[in-house]
Symmetry: C2
Subunit: 327 residues, 2 copies
DNA sequence: CTTTCGACTTTGAACGTTCAAGACCGTGAG
DNA sequence: CTCACGGTCTTGAACGTTCAAAGTCGAAAG
């Protein structure tokens, strides 16, 4: 086993003091060019790597970010988180941070976990997903001055904290436009009951686009909990009206899948989230730019951590339509 | 902001020395009952939480485990990792450990990451997924005395290290038996080209079960890379033979989905992995007990970390058949 | 009565880093 | 000539924990 290489080893080798090595690492502008090179060379030849624990003890910063991993909820939408996580981990590593996972049963439990992680591991920040109206977690964190960024905006008060989100309305608008372009005039929307920020946003994109093309959305709109059965139910309901729609825009791939089954291939269907299921069965779906969203979350969080705390920043990303066989 | 609570704060409050508090935490049997209670009370009322960084600096242990998160490969099977990760995080937390993520492009890159993580964060152990024949990663880790457990066995030499795996052959055997029980006699197998441990194991379960029921598997077997198109291809190929099969056992849900499309509902199909796609479209599929697998990985790893290093341990778990509409 | 022992507790040092303070040196202003 | 100054580098202390060693005390043994 090779000897442990510390800052002192490097210092001895480069004939400087510990502090100078530390300065080369953290404030290179304080060190003379030639000295810096000598130290850097020593670091390279010795293979020195900074000891995070020791640094953390002094500075109180751990270079660690945390994200909650949820149990795959309804099975079909869980993969969104999976891809997002990969993006986060990748972007964080590029910035010298690492991502730690935690689980929680509910918001209260999650707050307890915040407390633990902060006390024991000195976490630098959190990335929260799936924010609700009046999210207690964000208040708790803000109160304690803990940095965080959410993926998903706070619907009640947009500028309360920094966030990254995908323009849901634009996604359904693109979907609706696609259907109009391919000749559809009666386009139904199958979404969630109103009250959820994301759901309402997705509905609004459809509605807005219909009106913009002088199409009347009245009565073409159904809402139910997320799920394949619910999607089928809504589709059947709409298909038995006097003037049934010829196409559906859906708020999720689950609902879309249900609609697809209920309609038996007679109507065009577009889903939302571009899950593996959509890719597998050829469902046209709105795709969120998850790697980019993750990267922007990390950017924002690190901006805050590095102390550019001038207010909050919001990032809204455009989704894109993955055109396959169902529309 | 409340004052920082350290071991010294607790010690003062409980009228004992730092070391005694430390002992209550780490070796309670050394401390007199009454003292222990006094200290525990002080810990509780002060809300003391141990500082991992400081502990780690002294002991060299971080209570951190690492897992690689892969980019969702072909989109359809990625969710396996997702569920496994959740299980890991949950089980680790219960044992006082946390899970850290990292990404890597290939095995070489992953080894570089090992090195970094070990040097900077003093990681305690790794959970590896998707081991290949002659996996370089496991040799690298073993050489350095780093603890790890793999999810997936080393096919060349089973007892080289500890692992947890699911009995793939048993999964396809269950699937085949189910088809036989429901009256099928000519049952085809669509898998991967031979050479991959997992793939060969899954093929073997089918073959063995066919023979055990006096059914001849000859010529009922196709292999291709994983994917929906490939599954469809194989199914079409088998269906155009002189005596076409009436049912398919497939090595993955992707292949199964292809087979399903190619057969147009005329044959029974069983997939493998019970992905969200299977749940969504009603595909009967072999389900791996992922939460349990994850928990056993953590158990094994922690056993090693706590220094019960008497050889290696292997755990083989039984999958279960999720019966839906396709078989 | 002294010694030994064991159960329990305390003390000082150390882990590797960065902060705060200060030392050194050559330059230019007064 | 003196002094202040900026640039560069060094020193001692501190972060919160645990290790190693030593101290205290009462009971049992000689």
């Amino acid at each position: 086993m090779a000897e442990k290489v510390t800052i002192a080893t490097v210092a001895a080798r480069a004939q400087v003091s510990r502090q100078t090595v530390s300065n080369v690492l953290n404030s290179p502008q304080l060190v003379r060019e030639e000295t810096r090179r000598r130290v850097e060379e020593a670091i390279a030849t010795l293979g020195y790597r900074i000891n995070q624990a020791a640094r953390q003890m002094r500075t109180g910063r751990s270079q660690l970010l945390a994200v909650r991993i949820e149990p795959t909820r309804d099975g079909i939408n869980g993969s969104v988180l999976d891809r997002f996580l990969h993006g986060l981990t990748f972007a964080a590593a590029a910035a010298g941070y690492r991502v730690m996972l935690y689980t929680a049963d509910d918001d209260g439990d999650e707050i307890k976990t915040f407390d633990n992680l902060l006390a024991s591991y000195d976490l630098d920040g959190f990335v929260l997903t799936g924010t609700d109206h009046g999210d207690v977690r964000t208040f708790w964190l803000a109160e304690r001055g803990v940095q965080f960024v959410t993926f998903g905006r706070p619907w009640d008060e947009p500028e309360r904290h920094s966030w990254v989100d995908v323009d849901n309305a634009d996604g359904t608008a693109q979907a609706t436009r696609r259907l109009i372009d391919t000749g559809h005039r009666r386009i139904g929307f199958i979404g969630w009951p109103s009250g959820s920020g994301v759901g309402d946003d997705r509905r609004e994109g459809w509605q807005r686009t219909m009106k913009a093309h002088d199409l009347d959305p009245t009565g073409l709109d159904r809402g139910a909990a997320d799920g394949i059965a619910q999607g089928a139910e809504c589709a059947r309901d709409l298909l038995t009206t006097a003037e049934p729609p010829t196409a559906f825009v859906c708020a999720s791939d689950s609902l879309a899948l249900g609609a697809l089954q209920a309609a038996g291939g007679r109507t065009a269907v577009i889903g939302f989230d571009d899950t593996p299921v959509a890719q597998a069965i050829g469902l046209t779906s709105v795709s969120q730019p998850l790697p980019e969203a993750a990267a922007r979350c990390i950017d924002l969080l690190i901006d805050h951590l590095d102390g550019h705390p001038v207010g909050t920043t919001q990032v809204l990303l455009e989704p894109s339509l993955m055109i396959r066989t169902t529309a």
